[in-house]
Symmetry: C2
Subunit: 202 residues, 2 copies
């Protein structure tokens, strides 16, 4: 049995969404997004820094959402949600899959820290502004890539679970202004029952 160690608002939503998309059986260990749960001795045995998601699967325990998505696709599907190695979409899949944590999530993290997590007197408007401008720049190539497509690669794929999730979170920070393709895309995601059930989008 797969066990997903989870907290809402976090990257653990991605794995929850993926498990629902694939209709895989799993148990959900639903924690609060709080130090009491995530920094507990029990959870630090699963992830030394107290992060989520963590997936357990028999003897296997694995963290990092991108790693877990790849693990589930490789071990529990016949290559669903990922183009084959010889597909023309294979390089683009890899690029946007890694672009999520490489380019989009770092400024989102900074924005969340300086609008929600830090006490008001420690929030820095200069740092916040830099992160907002970087996020806008990082999203522009995605806005162009999705032009004329239903999902990020055309058909729904694991890139939507990774980069799509961070685009939804970008919208929640107000960073999609003027990006009509990405705004329409976040609306289309709501037509997917697995997304609606698992991802906080407003």
């Amino acid at each position: 049995m797969l066990t997903l160690h989870y907290a809402p608002f976090s990257r653990a939503e991605r794995i929850h969404w993926l498990l629902e998309e694939l209709s895989l059986p799993y148990e959900l260990n639903k924690m609060e997004f709080s130090p009491a749960d995530l920094k507990s001795e029990e959870h630090r045995k699963r992830h030394p820094l107290g992060r989520v998601p963590v997936l357990e699967d028999g003897d296997v325990s694995i963290f990092e959402s991108g790693a877990i998505v790849e693990y589930i696709i490789a071990r529990y599907t016949d290559g669903d949600l990922k183009p084959a190695t010889d597909s023309p979409l294979f390089p683009e899949f890899l690029q946007w899959f890694h672009y999520c944590e490489g380019m989009v999530m770092p400024p989102i993290n900074t924005i969340v820290v300086h609008t929600l997590l830090l006490p008001e007197d420690r929030r820095d408007p200069v740092v916040l502004g830099q992160a907002q401008r970087l996020l806008t720049k990082a999203l522009q190539p995605v806005e162009q890539a999705i032009e004329g497509r239903q999902y990020l690669l055309g058909d729904f794929s694991a890139v939507d679970i990774m980069l799509g999730h961070s685009i939804v979170k970008s919208k929640m920070t107000g960073s999609l202004e003027g990006m009509d393709n990405l705004l329409a895309y976040t609306e289309r995601l709501k037509e997917r029952p697995a997304f609606l059930e698992t991802v906080i989008f407003e």
Copy 2:
């Protein structure tokens, strides 16, 4: 022919290192790590934000170092440098491969910005200190994981190209103090000719 668009000190070193490890033929477009080269109109056609690495392979153009490593392994080897899907090391491979950009590189980026890239009067010692503490925390689990191993997974793998590269860069920022396993590991990497030829390590 593979063409690697490259600048020293950057993540492009990873791809240069990988190409040398695999003895693949390639051309190197060696740019300076400077706005004049990286933000040029020519390079922005390859990467809209002017980043490296970018790999070109016939009609394919792909960015993000993690994506390029996966692309080269999938299309140009018989699965070299990556455990098979049913290997007990497969989950750990994925985890540390993604941990590189997910946990280790964000604080390294902040440290580089606040020690090298920003003019001195705009460097923030509070932000720098936070990043240094986070980097130390993020490296501790790797220090434990490599205990008794030659490389990050035991045998040399693409995890050494990704996470190993960021450990070498962590050493350059002075962040490996007291981590004897990782310090010994960075010394062992210097025994690899491909590493010595491609990665700036001091």
